[in-house]
């Protein structure tokens, strides 16, 4: 692409061109309108003065005959800025007047019509100066012909003035166009170029780049702020993807290495069928663990990719919590703890029963693993309540809680605060809870109670099925009463 085509393809150039074009056409209309009207007005004035003079001269002729007429014309033609006069006899010889030369046809057709003619004034110093005039010619009794006219010099001068003004105006418009283009180009295009330059560096992999914000809150600032927010989100996603990849590598490497070691050891120290069987069973446990991690990852990815609001129905929370409590109570009791539930009856939430049950299970298992108090026995509480129009579903324990600085971190995939990783688990439980909460338009939040930790998610409230249908019927029958 050459410099010129690149230049002519810019938006600024096209805008300036359009601007100049539109203003030229508009000014053209204005000038033509003014010119037409002025010309018309001036012509009318000329005709009027010619007519009144003709009338006066005709009167003179009627009253005083040719002599008086000749005298009057002679006198009038000597005035400065006089009209044009010419009186001829029946043979066409000039008797008196101030016109030296004139197309003969004007005198021959003395029908009183208006004509525009070229003429030369008598006594003009410079010969052959042709001027334009508007004339009328009449035939008088006795074969005389009288011509009276007005010079059109002023009118022409004015037309010229207008033409010059138009030319000047055009120059001004083009200049203004150039100035506008310069302004648009230097200010606006520079910012657009800025944006494309920054996006180019981002395209090349540097996600830390941000668009500059001028601070005057114009549309470019708004665009830049929006794009920056988008970039931040992308950077965050990329970072979390990288973290996940690192974590997967780490968390899968350990069981895979263990698996490999077990197999190698079993192959080296062959202890007969019994030994092989033990080794195989141990490797089976490892592969089970690996499969569990994969399944959990797949499940989280699947939930995260689902559109919010899908596969949901009004669910009785009281019933759901009671069922989970029934499933977990024996386990909690075996561990020396207690389980309490507190859900008001008739509280429904718009949710996916399987997924929310899984959430309760994950939070309960976390409470079992990490929520044990140093003294006394474990108390796990499942509760649901209505706050600010949203259903809050929570599982709390009476353990040590999570330090506030770690609360964000535990939700990330594979993060387990306990470094030794002695408890079984994939480290994906809370990631799944978070994904499910997001799917339900809510969030996972932690709160340190005294003592213990409360983990809660918020759900959309739902009306129990089948309620409200009776009311509409009742209202209708009331109206039908005669």
């Amino acid at each position: 692409m050459t410099r010129l085509t690149r230049f002519t393809r810019t938006t600024a150039f096209k805008l300036s061109l359009l601007y100049v074009g539109v203003f030229t056409v508009m000014s053209g209309f204005l000038v033509v309108y003014v010119a037409e009207n002025t010309d018309h007005l001036m012509s009318e004035q000329v005709v009027q003065s010619v007519d009144s003079e003709l009338k006066g001269l005709a009167d003179v002729y009627v009253r005083g005959g040719v002599r008086d007429l000749v005298e009057t014309i002679d006198r009038r033609s000597k005035h400065p800025d006089a009209s044009l006069y010419l009186l001829t006899d029946f043979a066409g010889n000039a008797l008196v007047g101030n016109i030296a030369r004139l197309p003969t046809v004007v005198l021959e057709e003395a029908d009183g019509g208006l004509r525009r003619v070229r003429y030369t004034r008598l006594g003009q110093n410079t010969e052959d100066i042709e001027r334009q005039a508007m004339v009328r010619t009449f035939e008088l009794r006795g074969g005389f012909r009288l011509l009276v006219g007005r010079d059109l010099g002023d009118q022409l001068k004015f037309s010229n003035l207008l033409a010059n003004a138009l030319r000047l105006w055009l120059v001004v418009i083009v200049l203004m166009g150039a100035i506008t283009w310069f302004f648009v180009n230097s200010r606006v295009m520079k910012r657009i170029d800025d944006i494309s330059a920054t996006s180019r560096t981002i395209m090349h992999g540097d996600l830390t780049g941000r668009l500059s914000v001028a601070g005057n809150n114009d549309e470019f600032d708004r665009l830049a702020v929006n794009l920056n927010t988008m970039l931040e989100r992308i950077e965050l996603l990329m970072q979390s993807m990288k973290d996940v990849t690192d974590n997967i590598a780490h968390d899968l490497k350990t069981p895979l290495t263990r698996l490999q070691t077990r197999i190698e050891v079993a192959l080296r120290d062959s202890k007969g069928e019994e030994g092989y069987r033990d080794a195989l069973e141990a490797t089976l446990d490892e592969t089970d663990h690996l499969l569990r991690i994969f399944n959990a990852l797949l499940r989280i990815a699947r939930i995260e990719s689902m559109a919010p609001g899908t596969v949901m129905e009004p669910t009785d929370l009281n019933k759901m919590v009671a069922e989970i409590a029934e499933l977990y109570e024996p386990l909690i009791e075996d561990e020396g703890g207690r389980l309490e539930t507190d859900v008001p009856s008739g509280l429904y939430a718009e949710c996916n029963k399987d997924l929310i049950s899984q959430v309760l299970v994950n939070l309960t298992e976390n409470a079992l693993k990490y929520g044990r108090p140093d003294e006394g026995s474990l108390l796990i509480r499942m509760s649901a309540s209505l706050e600010d129009g949203r259903v809050q579903l929570s599982v709390s324990d009476n353990g040590a809680g999570i330090p506030e600085k770690d609360q964000e971190r535990v939700i990330e995939r594979f993060v387990r605060l306990e470094e030794s990783r002695s408890e079984p688990g994939t480290g994906l439980g809370l990631s799944l809870v978070k994904a499910v909460a997001r799917l339900h338009g809510g969030e996972l939040r932690f709160k340190n109670e005294t003592p213990g930790l409360s983990a809660r998610i918020d759900l959309k409230r739902a009306e129990p099925d089948g309620s409200g249908s009776g009311n509409g019927q009742g209202g209708k029958t009331g109206d039908e009463a005669p």
């Binding site: 069973e281 089976l284 446990d285 592969t287 089970d288 499969l291 569990r292 994969f294 399944n295 959990a296 797949l298 499940r299 699947r302 939930i303 689902m306 899908t310 596969v311 069922e323 029934e326 499933l327 977990y328 024996p330 386990l331 075996d334 996916n352 399987d354 997924l355 049950s357 899984q358 299970v361 298992e365 079992l368 079984p424 688990g425 994939t426 439980g429």
Partner: protein, 228 residues
Amino acid sequence: MLRILVIEDDPEAASYLVKGLTELGHTADQAADGQTGLQMSLDSDYDILIVDRMLPRLDGLSVIQQLRDEGNHTPVLILSALGQVDDRVKGLKAGGDDYLPKPYAFTELQARVEALARRPKSASQVETTYTVGDLTLDRMAHSCRRGETEIPLQPREFRLLEYLMQNAGQVVTRTMLLENVWEYHFDPQTNVIDVHISRLRSKIDKGFATPLLHTIRGAGYTIRDTAH
């Protein structure tokens, strides 16, 4: 011995399945696409169909639907790599009888196939009483006896024992118990099922000479009378 048809397009996965099922003493055939699979299952009389969801020519769900439309009610186990939440519901709606997401352990598949084969084919075949050794479960009276002793059971314990006895002699996995007794379709990380089993065991086995409820390592549980 069961006659099983595996409809699976991945040759490696299919031959692994066929080999595993054959080693268990079953007869297993294989079809590599949906159209062939549908034809084979209509032509011969299989006990169980194992159908992958993603198949060339005709997808797994369509195979099951057309089969049901033809009046064929062979139990179907759906295998799926898609795996979650709504997929399972779609699979069962199409007429599948059980659903197993990939990747799966072979023991899980084996347990499910055998449970499917033992499933009563019509309401008239449902037994009202299950018996294993001297343990009797009366489904009508909701009562359980071992020998002469009446054993009181909680409703959930009753359903747990009922499911185990329905599949007496077969291995049932923890996931199968969670799905069929509690109707949950997820994978708990802890041994929550084990606790329920041990409570049930203490009720039906404690104080009796021969234990009936056995743990199968790496697989699950089974109820059987080892005296025979």
